[in-house]
Amino acid sequence: MDLSTTYLGLELKNPLVASASPLSRSLDSARRLEDAGMAALVMYSLFEEELLNEQQALEHFMHGHDIGNPEATSPLEVPGGYHSGLDDYLEHLHRLKQALNVPVIASLNGISAGGWVENGRQLQEAGADALELNTYYIAADIAESGAEVEARYIDLLTELRQHVTIPIAVKLSPQFSSLAELAQRLATAGADGLVLFNRFYQPDIDLETLEVIPSLQLSTPDDLLLRMRWIAMLRGRVDLSLAATGGVHGTEQVLKVLLAGADVAQMCSALLQHGPGRLTDVLHELTSWLDEHEYDSLRQLIGSVSQQKTSDPAAFERANYMKVLDSYTPPPGVWS
């Protein structure tokens, strides 16, 4: 069975992409993913903010030895060979490129236009096959309108597009008021693909200290439906590759997002939980399913149940709450 697909202009042997995760930090686990069938790898994110903090800490440390009293007058000499977090990332990218045959997509989280452009250019030079912009931004400023937030994305992308030639995918959160229109504008600004959707870490409250603590829950297959719906609605309507991420745990979810219109399905939590073998299993099951259902190739299936091609286009848009709620039957003994 021909499982090949095209994502961001890259020819992939199958639709399974390992999404940005700690698994890409080790060459060994990356190789094992490739051996298990991974078609492309998205590297863990390079956080510009982290680089910035690191640089500030270094500056603070150097000058902590030079606090302006007569006994401490010289800063600490930083030995040569200083490797910033960016250097490490670039080197690791380089090593991954050497170790793997599949495309490697660098993931960039930036907070300033300068940082995006400069870091993006260096990632391209280091051999990245594509860039995934992991836009990790919570729009919570009451003085900032939705249009302004969207303009940030467009401006950054426009700027970056002028400086890199490799494909760019934009990873979005679902929290936009008019996602389709934004997707169209991103395409115009030079994006090659969309990755739907980002999952933000969720702050939690510690009941003992009453302090807010970070928490990160792995995805569950339940997360998939939101992605599937939006992919289905965007498929064919914007000239962008589409990737589903968040909730792709097994063959069933892969099939659904591909049917809805994703060119690839990105997996993370399932790989963390079950290991690389999950990829092999999914590929087997995918092949079997396609065979059983008499498809010629995977490409035939992609987008075949998108909004444009479904028999009931309104189904994806309908907000039929009542029907869904009405259909809910409480467990016995709870209400009666």
């Binding site: 000499e77 030995p79 200083y82 009453l210």
Partner: protein, 1200 residues
């Protein structure tokens, strides 16, 4: 006069450059002001920079200067080219080895940045007291007067010692030369190579110890031959001056710079000549040149080779016309009839006079005097005074210059009006900044830019105050087309550019006194340009108008904030300087600043570079020239340095020091023996905080944690009866306190000290009481200080007046109650968020009214005892902490001495009690002798008895009664605390710590463990943990931290505790109480986060928790008393490590840095540390788990 191979560097670097090129082995130990020499060499070797022979010198940090000298001695004896760097006390510790090295005629060079010695007080500043203390060791001594000379003479020293075999001490003035930054001609490596003879190096190796050609060196000799052997070295000493001169001549051939053993400058027919060693010579030279142009017959003789003293060369260097000589010594030898150089000169002249062909027709009249002790200013007016004195019929001998000696009347008059002839094109600039705002590093940068990009000569010198945080720095910069020899500060009316980098300095310094006519004044101020004029003091406005100054202003803090530079306004102010000083074309200057930024940070962080660039670019648009009105409008004046109600001593002396007028205090006002009153810091208000905590009484649960963690004693609490607040100021807060130990109706108040608080936020961080409806609101919340300053000062005054809580009623075991104990350690000059001071303060609270503190030199002795003001204080009864600092290396022994005295005097008092029992009454004597003083009540009762005793003694007319009166106070239990840092306890003072613990005596050793030499700027110690990056360990410390706790426990009889106040406060409290109550030696090792850990100290408490939770720091107590109850003496008070060690490391740059510079090594060391931490904890746990079954004691024996 362009240099061909110019470099801009400081004196220390110049010496280190040559030393590193010429050495195989370098043993180092940090001491101000020589530490940078070791730091440079360590960093260069870490960077694999080779010596002349293409091999990288081995640099090793030793445990003390004595250790460094020993290691150098050994390295020399086995044929290495070995060197070290030191100063002051460090040089004294090297003396025994210096005798050995010289006695064995070993080629060696020590480079010394000469510094004052600790006598009545320590001083880190420059004079010749140290080098003059080794003039008898047999070392040759060669002095450098300037940075250029440091590089030149360093090389001449290395060359000459190989030739002459006499070891050579190369010295230059601490700070004035060691820390001055200037532009000099580099002696390139090829020249150095030419100067150092391989043949002589090989001869040095051939003399070395080797089992392949064994010899014995260092025998023990008897009366028969020791004396002759001592004389056998003479030919080498006789030859040495020629050897040095030959090296100087050779150097001149190579570089064109000719030096002589004694260099004369001035009129060929001079009648009045000054003889001097060191940097002061440059200033004298300027004066001589000016006077010579006025036709004065004056001259200067610079002494370069001081030992061996080549008398004939000295005499020959003087013009025969010399009628009068003034010999200047930068040292003081009390009891001597003259200082060393003066006496050498007299001897030389007398000998010459007695010779067959005397140089002089008539022996010149010679006077000697002292100048410049501890970097005391030595300027042209003073030098002119010296020449004027020589013109008098009977010039003063044994004089001083630069001080007012109203006791011995030794001082010469200064010619205040005298000015040297100014070089055309000289620019002088002064910058008033804070240590933390980057002013100094910006100026170092500026001078490099000007040095490197123009033909101008450049000089920078930095004056610091003695505070750690909020220290003021004044930078003095000069640029000139001619070489700069002004080895003194920029004076009044001289500066062409004055910059005030901190707006608060307007009310503290008369900085425009320094401005020359037509100068530029640059002020960093948040006030708008059109209103900023009104913020100047009256005096400043007058200067601006009278001297026709051009006045510019910028809101640098706003620019720095906008561009992400935080509090470091350095780049902004530097850009302003270049933009308006006109030293360089503006565009060129800006390009240069950017290049310098890239050079500093390029490889480390693009964003830092970008932020700096943004700051540079934004600056110009924000820089405004202020239109200067015609008339003075301000009624503002400088603040009084201390409050008007301060005690007389504080007003007369402390206040003057704070105001920067210490130079004008006469001898009569100085304590003659270094004794100062306590409690002066209370009057020294630093006013640093932008925000201070505000107490919400309703939410407070009175836990006392804020008082406990505050590093600056800037929040304190009192409980008091309702009646006490009848006249309270309207905003004074108080609330009924809850708790069984308090009578109903008792009130409590937490008072913030608004001008002592540094805004570190630790009190808010630790506060556990949160509002039920708003979790961001605690019982303490930070708020802007300026609106609160006045009100809280009024409240503070009232708070001071409230009665202290009765100590006998305090339950010291609980934090809530213990924090009611009066703090006898006021706000010190420690860093914002300091991790040490809470421990020190706790000692003062728990035991302060009966404590003696022996304090090792280091941070704690600086914030604890550096003038102008000191934080140790006393209570209303006049009792408080008696504090002293002896040295760095001897602190444990010093404190042990306290205990020996107390015990001896107490024993004597008890004996006297017995002898006087009939007169005093058996009941009182018995009570005094048998008193139980294990709590505050018991101590109070004993004090009452001692008072009664003293009353009775007044009526007894006997010698023994008088004797008992003088020792009666020792009958009240005293607590001896021996306090210092890890550099002291683990390294230089470890011997003493060990012996003191072994002595079994009742002392309490408190180690403030910052895991690094904090005071000298962050060098590694044996407490530095594996993987940490520090100076002297820039490649990451490989070996682990010494387990001093285990060493101490091994004695069995030592109470040992390891604590971290931020991790478990009650544990710290308990440990301090147990240590004091234990009648034997105690050791408390206290974790103290430090700015040099590379973490913001607002995270101080979090870091302590992480250190404990990750197993980096284990909490424990080892109490030998538990053995008596058949219990294991050791208790582990922290849980098994629960946080991955790497998570702790990630939070501190001292560790994370290594992952960036050498990640393979960092990972390897991480694994090592993890295993070590794991093993150590389980080792302790197992030790603590051993059961101690009841031993079968020999009951008969015990009964007997």
């Amino acid at each position: 006069m362009a240099l061909t191979n110019a470099v801009t560097l400081e004196g220390n670097e110049a010496a280190a450059y040559v030393a590193h090129l010429c050495s195989d082995v370098i043993a180092i130990y940090p001491i101000t002001p020589s530490s940078p020499m070791g730091e440079y060499c360590d960093a260069w070797s870490a960077h694999e920079r080779p010596n002349l022979w293409g091999s990288v010198p081995e640099v090793i940090e030793m445990q003390s200067e004595a250790g460094a000298a020993g290691a150098v001695h050994g390295a020399l004896q086995t044929g290495a080219l070995a060197t070290t760097f030191t100063a002051s006390q460090g040089l004294l510790l090297m003396i025994p080895n210096m005798y050995k090295i010289a006695g064995e005629l070993t080629s060696a060079v020590f480079h010394v940045s000469a510094r004052a010695l600790a006598t009545h007080a320590l001083s880190i500043f420059g004079d010749h007291s140290d080098v003059m203390s080794v003039r008898q060791t047999g070392w040759a001594m060669l002095a450098s007067n300037s940075i250029q000379e440091v590089m030149d003479m360093a090389l001449i020293s290395h060359a000459a010692t190989l030739e002459g075999r006499v070891p050579l001490l190369h010295f230059f003035d601490g700070f004035r030369t060691s820390h001055e930054v200037g532009k000099i001609e580099l002696v390139d490596a090829a020249t150095v190579r030419t100067m150092i003879s391989d043949e002589l190096v090989q001869a040095h190796r051939a003399r070395a110890l080797s089992p392949d050609r064994p010899v014995v060196r260092g025998t023990s000799q008897n009366p028969d031959v020791y004396f002759q052997s001592r004389e056998a070295v003479n030919p080498f000493y006789k030859r040495m001056p020629d050897v040095v001169q030959t090296a100087m001549d050779r150097f001149a051939e190579l570089t064109g710079r000719q030096y002589r053993l004694f260099d004369y400058v001035g009129a060929a027919d001079a009648e009045r000549v000054v003889v001097i060693i060191g940097s002061g010579a440059d200033a004298v030279e300027e004066v001589v040149e000016t006077l010579a142009t006025q036709g004065e017959k004056v001259g200067l003789l610079k002494v370069r080779l001081y030992r061996p003293f080549a008398a004939s060369a000295f005499i020959d260097a003087l013009p025969t016309s010399t009628r009068r000589l003034s010999v200047l010594d930068r040292t003081k030898e009390p009891g001597s009839d003259g200082e060393p150089l003066y006496k050498d000169v007299i001897t030389a002249l007398v000998n010459d006079q007695q010779s067959a062909n005397p140089h002089f027709e008539r022996m010149p009249r010679i006077v000697g005097g002292r100048y410049g002790l501890a970097s005391k200013e030595f300027n042209p007016g003073m030098i002119k005074g010296i020449f004027d004195e020589l013109d008098k019929a009977t010039p003063k001998n044994d004089f001083t210059v630069g001080i007012i000696d109203d006791v011995g009347h030794s001082n010469l008059d200064i010619d205040e009006a005298f000015e040297i002839t100014k070089v055309e094109g000289l620019t002088q600039a002064m910058f008033y900044g804070l240590g933390s705002d980057g002013t100094v590093s910006a100026n170092k940068n500026t001078i490099k830019i000007i040095g490197e990009e123009t033909d101008l000569h450049a000089q920078a010198y930095f004056v610091y105050d003695s505070k750690k945080a909020g220290a003021a720095t004044v930078s003095h910069l000069r640029f000139s087309p001619q070489p700069i020899r002004s080895s003194y500060l920029i004076g009044d009316d001289e500066a062409n550019f004055v910059a005030c980098h901190q707006v608060g300095f307007i009310e503290r310094y008369d900085m425009l006194d320094k401005a020359a006519d037509g100068a530029v004044f640059l002020l960093n101020s948040p006030t708008a340009p059109d209103a900023v004029w009104g913020t100047l003091t009256q005096r400043m406005q007058k200067h601006v108008i009278d001297k026709k100054l051009r006045f510019y202003t910028i809101d640098a803090i706003a620019v720095a904030r906008e561009t992400g530079m935080g509090a470091r306004i350095n780049t902004v102010m530097q850009t302003c300087f270049f933009a308006i000083s006109g030293i360089l074309p503006r565009d060129q200057a800006i390009a240069s600043i950017k290049r310098a930024v890239e050079k500093t940070y390029g490889a480390k962080g693009k964003s830092i570079v970008e932020r700096n660039f943004a700051a540079i670019d934004t600056t110009l648009a924000q820089l405004h020239e202020v239109a200067v009105p015609d008339a003075v409008s301000s009624d503002l004046s400088k603040l009084l340095p201390v409050a008007a109600e301060a005690p007389e001593f504080v007003r007369k002396i402390t206040g003057e020091l704070i105001a920067g007028h210490g130079d004008s205090l006469p001898v009569s006002l100085m304590p003659c023996d270094g004794t100062f009153p306590v409690g002066t810091a209370r009057w020294d208000k630093r006013n640093l905080a932008l925000e201070i905590p505000v107490w919400d009484a309703e939410l407070c649960i009175f836990c006392g944690k804020c008082v406990f963690v505050c590093p600056h004693s800037a929040i304190r609490c009192k409980v008091f009866p309702e009646s006490a607040v009848a006249d309270a100021p309207p905003t004074f807060k108080h609330i009924p306190v809850k708790g069984k130990e308090f009578e109903s109706g008792t009130l409590i108040s937490y008072q913030v000290f608004p001008e002592d608080c540094t805004g570190c936020t630790l009190c808010v961080d630790v506060c556990p009481a949160k509002s039920k409806s708003d979790s961001s609101h605690k019982a303490l919340n930070m708020a802007l200080q300026p609106p609160l300053r006045e009100q809280e000062n009024i409240n503070l005054e009232f708070f001071y007046g409230l009665p202290e809580f009765d100590r006998t009623q305090v339950r010291t075991g609980t934090m809530k109650s213990a924090m009611l104990l009066e703090t006898l350690f006021d706000a010190s000059g420690a860093c914002v968020g300091c991790g040490e001071t809470p421990y020190v303060k706790l000692v003062s609270q728990l035991f302060g009214d009966r404590a003696l503190v022996a304090n090792a030199t280091g941070c704690s002795s600086i914030y604890g005892g550096n003038l102008p003001s000191t934080p140790w204080s006393k209570n209303a009864d006049g009792r408080g902490v008696a504090w002293s600092n002896s040295l760095f290396e001897d602190n444990a022994e010093f404190g042990l001495g306290f205990r020996l005295t107390i015990d001896k005097q107490r024993e004597y008092a008890r004996e006297l009690l017995s002898r006087l029992a009939d007169d005093l009454g058996k009941e009182l004597v018995g009570a005094l002798r048998e008193a139980v003083q294990d709590d505050e009540a018991g101590i109070h009762e004993q004090r009452e008895r001692v008072t009664e005793l003293k009353t009775k003694l007044v009526g007894i007319d006997s010698a023994e009664a008088r004797e008992l009166e003088s020792v009666a106070d020792t009958l009240v239990r005293k607590s001896v605390w021996i306090i210092g840092g890890d550099g002291w306890a683990y390294d230089i003072g470890f011997n003493g710590v060990d012996h003191t613990l072994a002595s079994g005596r009742n002392v309490n050793i408190l180690v403030l463990d910052t895991e690094v030499y904090s005071n000298t700027g962050g060098q590694a110690s044996k407490a530095t943990p594996t993987g940490a990056v520090a100076k002297f360990a820039t490649g990451g410390k490989e070996l682990g931290k010494k387990d001093i706790v285990q060493i101490a426990m091994s004695y069995g009889h030592v109470y040992v505790a390891q604590v971290a106040f931020g991790a478990k406060d009650t544990h710290t409290l308990k440990a301090f109480l147990e240590a004091d109550s234990y009648d034997g030696p105690s050791l408390i090792v206290a974790y103290a986060p430090c700015i040099e850990h590379g973490v913001h100290l607002s995270q101080n408490l979090r870091q302590q928790n992480l250190a404990v939770d990750s197993g980096h720091w284990n909490l424990l107590r080892h109490d030998p008393r538990r053995l008596a109850e058949n219990k294991n003496p050791l208790q582990i008070d922290s849980k098994r490590p629960s946080v991955p060690y790497k998570d702790f490391l990630a939070t501190e740059t001292r560790f994370s840095m290594l992952f960036r510079t050498d990640s393979a090594k960092a990972r390897h060391l991480l694994q090592k540390s993890e295993k070590r931490n794991h093993d150590r904890f389980f080792h302790y746990e197992q030790l603590a788990g051993i059961s101690f079954p009841e031993t079968e004691t020999d009951e008969e024996e015990s009964a007997g």
